[in-house]
Subunit: 236 residues, 2 copies
DNA sequence: CTTTCAAAAATGTGATCACTTTCTGGAAAG
DNA sequence: CTTTCCAGAAAGTGATCACATTTTTGAAAG
């Protein structure tokens, strides 16, 4: 009455690895982080198919946790389940882009204002450190590192809000436009990117809610503006 | 609540039921609809545990599609996966409630404005029919039917927007507050509920974007106001 | 009657299987 | 050279299994 385990040359490791990593759903959490960060840093290209077995092999786990994570990400509209069951990174369209911009502009400044009272001068210093790193990566043209750090910068602020509703919504929005962002940077580079991070940091130091919201708004408009100018070329 | 296959004493039916219902993922879709509408009509009580095997048995399917749907709904924050892996309907808190109200006020009027240009006088008639039905249910105190119809009314409008980004976000918000809504109606009844549906219909007939947004805003504030007054009693 | 604690039941998780559908590649026909 | 079509490969889906953990139960002890 013994099921054969770990007989195949490669494939998932032994059993549940009882106390290896830790608590319940550890494998799923690991898979979730891997795919999420892959989306946010542009490892997945819009239109590219994402297969359960492929990812499972790549991550060294069984198809099960991958299936569940893919369903989760599809529920957040970070992935798209096509009628034939195939999963892929959604293609960007003008409609989707316009809506993503609108939703970001509605939610993110509000989230930043909620976060402001929880942000201290220490946080401003942390953010400055991240922003300095961003400037370096922009100059060296490291698009992947830039995307990761830009995400870290924004969500350092948003997370401080302690939000349980708005934050997940914004999370979903970033997962949706990030893959497209990456294709644009691959085309036009990162050299002439400008952000309003320093204005945001200054507003945090002064506890200036209006100023912070304005900085975030401008940052979104600038950043998405670059994407917007390229979207027609990409599609048309 | 849900159709039971009732072929064998227990356990799901044999194989995939090849051409029975139709296309790919049919069972998952059925489970998804069942649980979603259950949440929206208040069949699930906040704090109540939701078990995979329990739902699977109740719906007459194997645990697999239920697992995936529960993960989806957890990703939309309609359900909560606790550290021990158990899944439950999240409890309402003051923080969550305030954020849900804020998010609804930010997104839904905007969504209604997007939809306006696609709404015709025929749609106004359809909405009137739904609203008349709502009035009846409010008088008879049928909370479940009210919730279903109120959802139908709002999303009849929102769906007309053709939105692919804002609409799913609002979907998630409704899934989050609906279960709590139900518990409040069970406590205070539905008799003294007032909505701004007729104002919204009038604005649609006149193609008045400002008026429609104002009606939706007022409708949300009125409806959530009733919930808000009860939330402290429920929690404190 | 309350508390303690061990046995039993229930639950989530990861893996694997069987089956159907879908996609891919290449040979054959035009 | 292009198109058609079929066989093999690949992929998603639902079901089932084995296992660790958690929860519940129920009896014994205080």
């Amino acid at each position: 009455m013994v099921t054969r385990r770990s007989t195949s040359p490669n494939g998932p490791d032994k059993t549940h690895e009882p106390g290896s990593t830790g608590s319940r759903g550890a494998t799923r959490g690991q898979v979730d982080n891997a795919i999420r960060s892959g989306l946010l840093t542009g490892h997945f290209i819009p239109g590219k198919a994402v297969t359960i077995r492929g990812l499972a092999t790549e991550l060294g786990v069984s198809p099960m946790p991958v299936r569940e994570v893919l369903q989760r990400l599809a529920a957040e509209n970070a992935l798209e389940v096509k009628p034939n069951g195939r999963v892929q990174v959604p293609d960007m369209t003008q409609l989707r882009f316009d809506e993503l911009l609108k939703a970001r502009l509605l939610l993110e400044p509000e989230l930043a204002k909620l976060a402001l009272e929880n942000l201290t001068s220490k946080d401003a210093r942390d953010l400055t450190r991240i922003d300095d790193d961003i400037d370096v990566r922009l100059k060296t043209g490291d698009a992947e590192a830039y995307m990761r750090l830009n995400h870290a910068f924004h969500f350092y602020i948003y997370r401080a809000s302690g939000s349980e509703v708005l934050l997940p919504l914004v999370d979903s929005l970033w997962l949706q436009f990030a893959p497209f962002m990456r294709t644009v940077y691959g085309r036009v580079g990162t050299a002439n990117l400008e952000d309003r991070h320093k204005e945001a940091i200054r507003a945090i130091e002064k506890q200036d809610a209006i100023g912070l919201a304005a900085a975030i708004t401008a940052d979104i408009e600038d950043g998405m503006g670059l994407l917007g100018r390229e979207i027609l070329a990409q599609i048309g």
